[in-house]
């Protein structure tokens, strides 16, 4: 495990030169934004002037002039930002990943495939709008891991009835689990029990979409999570008393409603985030240590799951 001091040294020696270069590009980017916006602003100003003074066609035509200009500006800005973001990630994020562990590889535009996301069985809604980025894979000790950011949405209806529901947005992590098992066990954050107590448990056991309800002995765990599984004994084999405690501790560490599943001898962990991770700043300076620390901590959270869940302890028949 690297210390914060080591990270600071790494920041000063390896990252700072790249960051200074990127800072120059960022400033140029902002200038470009300004210039690009300038054009439409002039057009709009002149347009409004002409239209109101000479033609008296205020509302609709202003709309027809204003809106396309704004949209065009925004689209062009997004387009030119992409190059900057991509280069930032390749130069900075990639280095931080390898700093954390030499055996990890970073791919800026790859992400966990949708088929794998669905195979985890965590989310019952199959997303039809699926994207992601910032993919990392490699081996931590004896454990093979991969993770990426995922933005999965479900869009239904069309035209006026269109509604877009977020299935999951955040960090999606997969690792080899240290025990062999045949079926599946799903651990979800427990809303019903918090609200309804004993009656909530009854409702949960009537769930038609999921496997059978698994009631575990750890009361703290039960308060936080609800577990469904294909086999009562296997679920308890996977969720040993020590693993349950570790999951509770991890949840406290992240302070987010995480989801886990154990399928196909792998463990899947989904940690929701509302913000985008690993994105470079555009409107603030990128040279600071602060954002680097944040990227590092976000990556460390994912990589740390291996130790947090004790996945490198391989004393059973799986190696």
């Amino acid at each position: 495990m690297k210390t914060l001091e080591e990270l600071e040294n790494f920041y000063k020696t390896n990252l700072l030169p790249e960051l200074l270069e990127l800072e120059e590009r960022r400033k140029k980017l902002l200038k470009k934004y300004f210039v690009i916006a300038l054009g439409p602003i002039c057009i709009v100003a002149v347009g409004i002037f002409i239209l109101t003074k000479y033609l008296n066609l205020i509302s609709e035509i202003i709309f027809f002039v204003l809106a396309p200009c704004v949209i065009a500006t925004v689209v062009i800005c997004i387009f030119i930002t992409r190059g900057y973001v991509r280069d930032f990630k390749i130069l900075v994020i990639d280095q931080i990943v390898r700093f954390i562990d030499e055996n990890l590889t970073y791919y800026q535009s790859r992400f966990i495939p949708r088929s794998v996301f669905v195979a985890s069985q965590i989310f019952k809604t199959k997303p039809n709008r699926y994207k992601g980025d910032d993919y990392v894979n490699g081996k931590i000790g004896d454990t093979q891991i991969q993770f990426s950011e995922i933005d999965a949405k479900y869009e239904s209806g069309s035209g006026k009835n269109r509604s877009v529901k977020t299935v999951f947005k955040g960090l999606f992590f997969i690792a080899d689990f240290n025990k062999n098992f045949k079926g599946q066990t799903i651990v979800l954050p427990d809303a019903a029990e918090k609200l309804f107590g004993h009656f909530g448990k009854l409702l949960q056991s009537w769930n038609l979409v999921r496997d059978q309800l698994i009631s575990l002995e750890d009361p703290e765990f039960e308060k936080l999570f609800v577990v469904y599984g294909s086999d009562q004994v296997e679920a308890r084999y996977i969720l040993s008393t020590s693993l349950m405690k570790r999951i509770i501790d991890f949840r406290e560490k992240t302070n987010r409603n995480m989801y886990l599943s154990f399928v196909g001898s792998k463990v899947f962990v989904a940690v929701p985030y509302t913000r985008n991770l690993f994105e470079p700043r555009i409107f603030k300076t990128v040279v600071d240590f602060e954002p680097i620390k944040e990227y590092y901590e976000d990556l460390l959270l994912a990589v740390g799951i291996v130790d947090d869940l004790n996945l490198n302890t391989r004393i059973w028949s799986k190696n």
């Binding site: 025990k179 004994v233 296997e234 040993s240 004393i315 059973w316 799986k318």
Partner: protein, 185 residues
């Protein structure tokens, strides 16, 4: 008139629902107990393999090995009552634990591939037995709840369902295995 009939039908349906729930809980207990039995058999099957692997190295542990062979023979003989079974189980677990502790004194054995694989399998089966015990206790608790809580307790007493016992870990096992005691100085 119709109202009364509908109420009567609903009540009957409700009773059927409760009746089936009780039966399901009772059967779940039997089901999980079956899993425990199956896992215990898995453990018994591993013991002879353990003995052959360990015998050549652990020249000083002859007593322990003989003990486990004897206990295992008793367990698979099938001529013991349920209570004796549980008692036997605890004894076997203790002796197995003792053997695993004794292995620490034989570095050659510890590095042996066969042994390591065997150790992995044994750890696995022990954890699975532990998981099955927990599942059994959960099933029994669920069943006991139904037998004691209203309204299923009425049905339960009519069907003469009694409370069942959960698996308890005997105090002996709760205390840390005293290796010296086990070796019997």
């Amino acid at each position: 008139m119709w109202f009364a009939i509908i109420i009567a039908v609903l009540v009957i349906l409700f009773v059927i629902f409760l009746y089936n729930a009780l039966i399901a809980k009772k059967n779940q207990v039997i089901n999980v107990f079956g899993s425990i039995d199956a896992l215990l058999k898995k453990r018994y099957d591993l013991i002879p393999k353990l003995i052959t692997t360990v015998k050549q190295y652990m020249k000083h542990e002859r007593e322990l090995l003989e003990k486990i062979t004897e206990l295992r023979a008793k367990a698979v003989s099938g001529q013991i009552s349920d209570d004796q079974k549980v008692d036997l189980e605890n004894k076997i677990a203790k002796v197995l634990g003792g053997i695993m502790v004794a292995v620490e004194n034989y570095p050659d054995l510890k590095a042996n591939q066969n042994f390591l694989q065997l150790q992995g399998s044994m750890n696995e089966v022990e954890e699975q037995i532990s998981a099955a015990r927990r599942a059994y206790n959960a099933a029994v608790t669920d069943y006991n709840n139904a037998v004691e809580m209203f309204p299923t307790n009425i049905l339960a007493s009519m069907m003469q369902y009694k409370l069942k016992k959960v698996f308890e870990i005997p105090d002996e096992q709760r205390r840390d295995i005293d290796a010296e005691k086990l070796f019997g100085t």
